[in-house]
């Protein structure tokens, strides 16, 4: 369907269902219960899941297919965000032109960075992209303050009066989609459960599904095959009459545009930007997401992004008080011991948990979470086959007359 084979159609169908039902799926625990801590179905976090999903899908097109490891991708996200917020401030409060501007600006910037960085490969390429990103960060902080707002960044102010909107004097504009406020939510109460359906989330979710679909098409195209060939043996590619440079540059720009799309959506959700969005740790994070989920796989980056954002937002909020609550039923001595043992891994220590899990994945599951899933799947299938064999054997025995 839509030019996809059966398996890919299935994959995108699953992703679509998950995105639509996320407010339910991510809120499995009733409000006020001890486990409500683990609910992730609130708009802020759900938006982050899908937006970072887009960022990681785009990063994976470059890294997963060609093997070129960019260490400066957050710069494109940041530049896209700046482009998007200026559209909101000056042109229209409608998020569509703003997001499009984010994509365009990031694409142009990626063209320039890629043109220079792709002259080298391997570690030198990574370092060049890192250098560009850190330069952008430093510039956004200092010289470019008139455009970037420096340290405080940019947000929509009461003095902004976009060309295409008729705000009252002093009114602070709100980002919207043809009048639908991005921040508006619709809540359903069902017994002890509270589900929130947020406009911004659903916009970002639909965009992610489209971005995912496009990524599948690119991966399965002749262009995608050339990119995998570049990763596999660039020498053979050159001696087969193909010029690797425009291929890598094209995917670098596409990947930068995905980052710009993510940056534009971020602005559409919270109408603010700061330079920290371009800091090198943000570039490192998307690398982690992609590898953790499974570089080169289709769904991996989305899983990785969801996983890391969940850790960052949920595990990091667990504090001593919550631990005490959990372990209260234990005898005092054991309770204290457990709290002491668990505490370094939660709250501010969530990075430690993430680091350990990342190491475990890289060492034991080089294909990331996707490989983990496949292995589990294979175990089940083998068990199925075994029981089939057993049945078949039994059937055979039944058919062979007893001696």
């Amino acid at each position: 369907m839509f030019g996809l084979n059966k398996r890919d159609t299935g994959l995108i169908a699953i992703v679509t269902v998950l995105v639509i039902l996320a407010p339910f799926i991510l809120n499995p625990f009733p409000e006020g219960s001890a486990m409500a801590q683990f609910n992730a179905g609130y708009p802020d976090l759900m938006q982050r899941f899908v937006i970072f999903g887009i960022f990681a899908i785009g990063f994976n097109l470059l890294f997963g297919l060609t093997g070129y490891l960019s260490f400066g991708h957050a710069a494109f996200l940041g530049v896209g965000s700046y482009g998007a917020i200026w559209m909101l401030k000056l042109f229209s409060l409608n998020v569509i032109p703003s997001i499009i501007m984010g994509v365009i600006v990031a694409g142009i910037f990626a063209l320039a960075v890629g043109f220079v960085s792709l002259r080298r490969s391997g570690i030198y390429f990574s370092i060049l992209t890192l250098a560009f990103a850190q330069m952008s960060y430093a510039l956004a902080y200092s010289v470019l303050t008139p455009i970037t707002g420096g340290e405080t960044g940019l947000q929509i102010k009461s003095t902004d009066s976009p060309l295409l909107s008729n705000l009252e004097p002093g009114e602070i504009g709100r980002a919207s989609l043809f009048g639908l406020d991005m921040r508006s939510s619709f809540e359903i109460e069902m017994g002890d459960w509270l589900f929130t359906f947020n406009t911004g989330y659903y916009l970002a979710g639909i965009v992610m599904i489209l971005a995912f679909y496009l990524a599948i098409r690119i991966t399965r195209s002749p262009f995608g095959m050339m990119l995998r060939a570049i990763k596999s043996n660039q020498q053979r590619l050159n001696y087969t009459g193909l010029n690797a440079r425009p291929y890598t540059l094209a995917v670098f720009v596409i990947s930068g545009m995905y980052a710009g799309l993510a940056g534009g959506l971020m602005v559409a959700m919270d109408t603010q930007v700061g330079p920290e969005r371009m800091f090198w740790t943000a570039s490192g994070e998307v690398v982690l997401m992609t590898i953790l989920g499974g570089a080169g796989t289709l769904i991996g980056p989305v899983l990785g992004a969801g996983f890391i954002k969940y850790m960052e937002n949920i595990i990091s909020k667990i504090n001593k008080g919550i631990l005490e609550q959990w372990f209260a039923f234990m005898p005092d001595g054991i309770e204290d011991l457990l709290i002491t043992l668990v505490y370094p891994f939660v709250g501010k220590g969530w990075h430690l948990t993430l680091g350990l899990m990342f190491m475990a994945v890289v060492i034991f599951l080089p294909g990331g979470l996707v490989e983990g899933g496949q292995r589990i799947g294979r175990v089940f299938r083998r068990r199925d086959r075994k029981s089939e064999h057993a049945e078949a054997d039994a059937a055979k025995q039944r058919n062979t007359p007893a001696e």
């Binding site: 043996n233 001696y239 193909l242 094209a250």
Partner: protein, 254 residues
Amino acid sequence: MGILEVKNVGKRFGGLQALNDVNLSVAENSVHAIIGPNGAGKSTLLNCFVGKLIPDTGSVMFDGQSVLGRKPYEINQMGISRVFQTPEIFADLTVMENMMIPCFAKRDGAFRMHAIESIPNEKDIIAKAEHMLEDMNLSDHRDMHAASMSRGDKRRLEIAMCLAQDPRLLLLDEPTAGMARADTNNTIDLLKRIKDERDITIAIIEHDMHVVFSLAERITVLAQGTPLVEDTPDNIKGHPKVREAYLGETQTAA
């Protein structure tokens, strides 16, 4: 005028004069062998033809056009394909994908942004790639990863990939090195068939004299970076200088 004209080519690596005043003319639609002891500069010479190396002096003309200063992919698009001493294939791709890539390169040139098209719709490419696999007896491996094939199959795949581009000049660097006798004979038969079926010029570097004398119409003997003689196989066999420098090494020693 040959299809490949090499004039006064010299190449120096530090203190080593790897090629010295090499002149060579490869006639169109012939099989031309370049032989010589290890380190004679045979691979270096081939590298100068395909843009991997640029000679210090001299000229290399293919079909009347200079190849010097052009990128490897440009030289390939001019009609020169090369098989390497150790098979160079796309190890992580399937055999079929390996076969399709040169077909795309032939049809679409050095770059085309076909990012939304779907591979199953590329009927002409698929037909051509499948035909080549069939022709080379590789159809059984169609959906295998190329990395998991035997060395002999990898070599055949590499040759098939080069042929899929319908090159005018095919360069082979020791295609039978490290092969068992049976595989070597299969390769000889394959190359003979290619030569009979196509309008193609083949330049082959080879160590194995059996291969050389079964295929070549002309032979150039290279020693220490300089051509010693160039002649027909029969004359080369009896040539005193050649016997001395190369073929007769063992006899002289005895």
